[in-house]
């Protein structure tokens, strides 16, 4: 079907999700109650703001992920042609991976991969 299938799939996903939500809205007889819309915290009333600071570890991992994800994007075109190019391609990617690995070791040494 070609690239049009993407549009078809997006539309069918929206139709499917919206169909379910609208059908349930028609069927449900909701009774309004202020307690119902309180955030769920196992019965205890929530204290303070929800959008608080969170652990910096998540951010560090996301940064390191970004580096390695870009590396993998570079690996995809290399992987397609490596069989036809041969040893030169392997040598080049080994230099590339080695430099990245040094960075990885540095991050490891600095304790960025340690969960605090």
């Amino acid at each position: 079907m070609g690239a049009a299938s993407m549009i078809v799939l997006i539309i069918s996903a929206i139709v499917f999700a919206a169909g379910g939500i609208i059908t349930s809205k028609i069927l449900v007889m909701g009774i309004k109650n202020p307690v119902k819309s309180q955030p769920y915290e196992c019965g205890v009333e929530t204290i303070g703001n929800t959008w608080v600071q969170f652990n910096v570890g998540y951010y560090l991992f996301a940064l390191i992920f970004l580096i390695f994800d870009v590396e993998i994007v570079f690996l995809y075109p290399w992987a397609v042609v490596v069989k036809s190019i041969g040893w030169t391609a392997l040598l080049e990617i080994m230099i590339f991976l080695f430099i990245l690995f040094l960075g990885f070791l540095y991050a490891h040494k600095k304790g960025a991969l340690k969960w605090v």
């Binding site: 993407m6 349930s24 955030p39 769920y40 994800d69 391609a89």
Partner: protein, 358 residues
């Protein structure tokens, strides 16, 4: 022979002969959309039922057996129940993002259906970067999950979403690297080329030990990516009630649930395509007689058989391993799986250049 591709051919020729080209094309699109929606609904029903039955038998109990014959209608009844439930929006929530999140998750799950080959010549879009498409589209789901967790105005949801985001992006790396090791062996990103290259044996057998290592790493990584136990920190029931979808109820919750199961199906289908040959029957080299006997089993049965086997393995994990802590989880990825899979890629490359594989 009677197969899915011949059915689509018959429908296509019938449409072409009855209507004018534009309407025929539009009808084709509508039919494809309806087919995918039906597939999604059926997958949801079947996988939830399978999950419950497998769990039950692993714990030596019977599981759902009241609704319908042997409990087969249990999930249909559950869906009906969810349809009748009120969809609450918590006070102080970011209403726009809260309502958008299920759609984002659903769209990313639905888009992944495009490049999957369900049977011989039965594929929506055989694009030349099929594998790259899969790994890029599957990461859209993270945005939906973070959106849901952030907008809920609930601390459990926020924590669950953060954990889930860290976990999914981390394990994407080793999943990507193990996909790359098969791409190196095939030399193409196209799904049909990958399947065609397994005509004389599946990659897990042809690729010796590196392919097996890649398969194991892929299985671990996708288990983590779909937030399944033992990596289900994102919705660890005993700590965070339900993680990022704590505040979702009614149909919106059902959509998250459905997308989760659809994602399990999709990653298992991709795993089956890359390592176990997709719809390709079990072939051994040039043993013509054996290969012909295997060809008698329809290709769709091969595909769904392999996929459901992998799904069963992932369900099996849930009842075998205890849940990890977040530091253990990230250690496993960054200190073990990532270096191993990087080294494995180099091994596979040497193997591919030396033509050591069969």
């Amino acid at each position: 022979m009677w197969s899915l591709s011949s059915i689509t051919d018959i429908v296509q020729t019938w449409l072409g002969s009855t209507f004018n080209p534009t309407i025929a094309l539009l009808l084709q699109f509508v039919m494809a959309g309806l087919l995918v929606i039906t597939l999604f609904a059926v997958l949801g029903l079947v996988l939830v039922f399978m999950e419950r039955k497998v769990s039950a038998y692993m714990q030596v109990r019977i599981g759902p057996n009241r609704v319908g014959p042997r409990g087969y209608l249990q999930t249909a009844a559950d869906t009906l129940k969810l349809l009748m439930k009120e969809g609450l929006v918590p006070a102080g929530a970011d209403k726009f993002l809260f309502n958008l999140a299920p759609y984002v998750v659903m769209i990313s799950a639905m888009l992944l259906m495009a490049p999957i080959a369900f049977a011989k010549d039965f594929q929506m879009w055989d694009l030349n970067i099929g594998v790259l498409y899969v790994s890029s589209v599957s990461s859209i789901a993270v945005i939906g999950i973070l959106m849901a967790g952030w907008s809920s105005n609930n601390k459990y949801s926020l924590l669950g979403a953060m954990r889930s985001g860290a976990q999914i992006v981390s394990y994407e790396l080793s999943a990507g690297l193990s996909i790359i090791s098969i791409v190196i062996l095939v030399g193409s990103l196209k799904i049909s080329d990958i399947i065609a290259s397994q005509q004389d044996g599946w990659w897990i057998f042809k690729g010796h030990i590196p392919a097996i290592i890649a398969f194991v790493i892929f299985l671990i990584a996708v288990t983590a990516e779909t937030n399944r136990a033992p990596f289900d920190l994102a919705e660890a029931e005993s700590e965070l009630t339900a993680g990022f979808h704590t505040e979702y109820s009614g149909m919106r919750f059902a959509l998250f649930f459905l997308a989760e199961y659809a994602n399990i199906f999709i990653v298992c289908a991709i795993g089956a395509t890359l390592f176990l040959g997709g719809w390709m029957p079990f072939h051994i080299g040039n043993l013509q007689a054996f290969n012909h006997i295997m060809d008698y089993i329809p290709s769709s049965i091969w595909f769904f058989g392999k996929t459901f086997f992998l799904i069963f393995v992932i369900m099996w994990f849930r009842w075998t391993f205890p849940r990890l802590r977040i530091d253990q989880l990230l250690n496993l990825e960054w200190k073990y799986l990532l270096p191993i899979s990087m080294f494995n890629v180099l091994l596979v490359t040497i193997m591919a250049i030396m033509k050591w594989h069969f």
